[in-house]
Symmetry: C2
DNA sequence: ATATTATGTCGTATGTTTGCGACATATGAA
DNA sequence: TTCATATGTCGCAAACATACGACATAATAT
């Protein structure tokens, strides 16, 4: 990601006031914040063909909308597409998904502390 | 979460057409999709006092806005607040954060497969 | 050359999120 | 009781996200 991933789709000015890790994680979380995009990632993980048209058939949304979700995933670096004649093969970008995974792990490690509240839910 | 966590803030009708895991993960990702909310979680992890006012001082947003982010985190079950006289002690809800962590792990495990694309980024 | 198929982009309607000032409430102090 | 402090809620404006039909493009087949 995440060097070339511009933090500009979240244009509320106040966003820049947060530390970089928080910005980076929240950006990734935003990409994962729609069920269609999760479903696309899961479909790509289990499918072998990765043809764009197949994805559209799998996702219960119009071709247009699916295409837009694909672009967002591509922009975030989680998938990439290769042109093959008239078709396009999409697949997961494992290296970036791993980076994403590590960032989330980092966050959750940071949150996993013994807190001194009496009642912890 | 996530039994009591209603999937109703994402009211685009099409959302219900996705599998439950995708809905659940995307809901959680949405909660994490703003840097202020990440920053609040990180602050609560490292602070001992957890007083709402302290959080407002730490986050570069108005008290009103911080309060709203706190409500969202609370609604998602990631934090909880205890009234202590005139003040409110917020802290992380470790059990739900762990559940959230596990859900993300589940997803990433599912995505971590050897894909047969020639060029994998 | 024309038709067909696969895919992306534009424009737009609708709904959601963010941010904040102003107001409401509630505890404790003077 | 009255005031100050801590916090939450309401209502609005601006920005953003979602969804999709219509149009554009590009590779093949006929």
């Amino acid at each position: 990601m995440f060097a070339t991933y511009e933090i500009d789709t979240m244009t509320y000015s106040k966003v820049i006031n947060f530390d970089l890790q928080s910005q980076e994680i929240s950006q990734l979380a935003k990409v994962l914040s729609h069920p269609a995009r999760i479903a696309i990632l899961k479909f790509l993980a289990k499918s072998k063909t990765c043809i764009s048209g197949d994805i559209c058939n799998e996702i219960p949304l119009s071709r247009t909308t699916v295409s837009q979700h694909l672009q967002e995933l591509k922009k975030a670096g989680l998938i990439h597409g290769e042109i093959e004649g008239i078709k396009i093969n999409y697949c997961l970008c494992q290296s970036n998904i791993k980076k994403c995974y590590m960032l989330f792990n980092e966050l959750f490690d940071e949150l996993d502390v013994e807190i001194n509240c009496e009642d912890n839910c």
